[in-house]
Amino acid sequence: MTSLEKRLREIRASGRKALVPYFVAGLTPDWITHVEAAVLAGADAVEIGIPFSDPMMDGVVIQEAAMRALDAGTNLDSISMDLSALSVSVPLIAMTYYNIFHHYGVERAAGKLQASGISGAIVPDLPIEEGGEWFSACAAHDVATILLVAPSTPQGRVETITTACQGFCYATARMAVTGRSSDGGDGARVVDRIRASSDIPAYIGIGVTTPSQAHDASVAGDGVIVGSVLVQAILDGASAPDIEHIVRQFRLAID
């Protein structure tokens, strides 16, 4: 079992719902302070978005943020450098598109993640059928390969996915890309289907915009991923204390 999964299982065992905020690496020069603020406010893990030119699963907010980060010269090496300045106690999880790792070289990329203190990776456009090489590279570097289950995923496929999935299983709450959403989505149903085939922790993400949505998601799942709302705040100029404040609202709502 990867160290990430061990840690996340402990959190679940303790009865605590996991809160996983998402940040776009390099969006601002001080993006590291946003990560620290989130941890201070009670995040259990942090997703580090590595910007990609063609973020197929992302809505306008994260697209915009990725563009800005790329324009500022962000890349895997610069992120790794930035992260060396970070000391937080919670696990870091990379989230990006496969071409970033593919182009960097999967072995080299997994090593880089590990060296940067990252213990998990979410690659939404890399399905199990194509993931072999990457999964092995990650395994060699104790990077958990986190897979997604969508509302449209048939049960048979859920089983295949959960078998391969490490760390936690990402239950996408809706058939949509990242971004704001007003309804609660299908997260609870997706979590049920994950649980029907595995006891891996199941976290709900995609469209979790308000603390109350986060509360509902945390009742159904073992954790919640909160992304666009934070990224939007940063795009709008939020400071680290602002981020701390927002994350705390989510923390309160799920506790």
């Binding site: 090496d77 496969y98 071409n99 194509e130 449209s152 890309v177």
Partner: protein, 394 residues
């Protein structure tokens, strides 16, 4: 060239062409891709479906398109050139072949709506056309910059009842339109088919689109025989995503013909690209040192794509097809030559293939060779642009 091996056969269930292809999509789209694969395999094996497909192409789209011997140009160059006239297909290019196949499939799958991406608008117009003909709802994603550059094509799609959505993300051109169509598709896979416009994207698209375009090559193969010309020495096509090239190559992959794809220098995925993953496929892509996709730039919007279909990447790898690049500067002259000597104004995309032939006659193309040019589209859409450019030169 040995023909013991079968080239351009069906890829396996993973959609691999050697090291390329595959199905790199979010889990949410995976069932739709699998459903599509099953539906396509089923339909393509069903004579009722293929007969309907061929009937619509014949009655509505004007197939078969002829093969025209380019006698005057041939005499000038010392080679024998034949042109497969996709410019005469309804809406002015080969794009309609694929679109009619996919819209028929959409109906068969019980879906009521189609989405598509478009660059210059050729695939968008073709899709809007087929949807109008079949009574399907249609939404076309088009980079905002392209909607401005190609305002008339936007209007054309609207006349045909389609909704055109300007895409404001990324570089606001074709590759972003693909991203946006994928994003949209996630939200509506239930009742909506994504009608991809070239031999790209996740499996089964590269294979399915090639199959739906292979009618070009199969017709041409027989037509060359009927013209008494038999197998050409070379088959030449321009390559954006690669659908017209794949379509014509398919008719000659297992002959002795040399297959040549001509890319735009500014969108040359084989020439300047490296393996990568984008838009659901592993293929050759133009990208920077960190794997960020580069914007293509070409004088012709239809070749303005930083990637290439995975099967082409494979054919290049194994040497069954060769790919060359033509610079923008060479394109207008080629368009002029074909217009003047043969009375056919080609699309700027097609003019790349023409330019390569003009340049290589007597070099890569030995004198006396028989060359089949896939004349993928007509130039009417480009005439205003060419006029501006020629004026600019004066």
């Amino acid at each position: 060239m040995s023909t013991e091996r079968e080239f351009m056969a069906a890829p396996g269930t993973l959609g691999h062409f050697g090291a390329y292809g595959g199905r790199f999509v979010p889990e949410a789209l995976m069932p739709a891709c699998l459903e599509l694969e099953t539906a396509f395999i089923d339909a393509w094996a069903d004579p009722t479906f293929t007969e309907r497909y061929r009937t619509v192409l014949r009655e509505f789209a004007g197939r078969p398109t002829p093969v025209t011997p380019l006698r005057r140009l041939s005499a000038q160059l010392g080679i024998e050139i034949f042109a497969k006239r996709e410019d005469l297909a309804h809406t002015g290019s080969h794009k309609i072949n694929n679109v009619i196949g996919q819209t028929l499939l959409t109906k068969r799958m019980g879906k009521r709506r189609v989405i598509a991406e478009t660059g210059a608008g050729q695939h968008g117009v073709a899709t809007a056309t087929a949807c109008a003909q079949m009574g399907l709802e249609c939404t076309v994603f088009m980079g905002e910059i392209d909607t401005e550059r190609q305002a008339l094509n936007v209007f054309r799609m609207e006349l045909l009842g389609a909704t055109v959505v300007p895409v404001t993300s990324g570089s606001r051109t074709l590759k972003d339109a693909v991203n946006e169509a994928m994003r949209e598709w996630v939200t509506c896979v239930e009742d909506t088919h994504y009608c991809l416009g070239s031999v790209m994207g996740p499996h089964p698209f590269p294979w399915m689109v090639r199959e739906m375009q292979s009618i070009i090559g199969h017709e041409a193969f027989q037509q060359m025989i009927d013209l008494g010309a038999s197998t050409p020495d070379l088959v030449v096509a321009c390559v954006g995503g690669g659908s017209n090239a794949a379509g014509v190559f398919a008719g000659f992959a297992n002959t002795s013909a040399r297959l040549v794809g001509v890319e735009a220098a500014g969108g040359s995925a084989v020439g300047k690209g490296s393996p990568g993953v984008l838009h659901g496929m592993r293929s050759l892509l133009m990208q920077d040192e960190f794997g960020q996709i580069e914007e293509a730039y070409s004088i012709s919007a239809g070749l303005d794509y930083p990637g290439i279909g995975p099967e082409h990447a494979y054919l290049a790898d194994i040497g069954r097809a060769e790919y060359f690049a033509i610079a923008d500067e060479e394109v207008i002259g080629a368009l002029e030559v074909l217009s003047l000597t043969e009375g056919i104004i080609p699309a700027l995309e097609t003019a790349h293939a023409v330019a390569w032939i003009l340049k290589e006659a007597g070099r890569e193309i030995p004198l006396g060779s028989k060359v089949l040019l896939n004349l993928s589209g007509r130039g009417d859409k480009d005439v205003a642009q060419v006029r501006e450019m020629l004026r600019g030169q004066q």
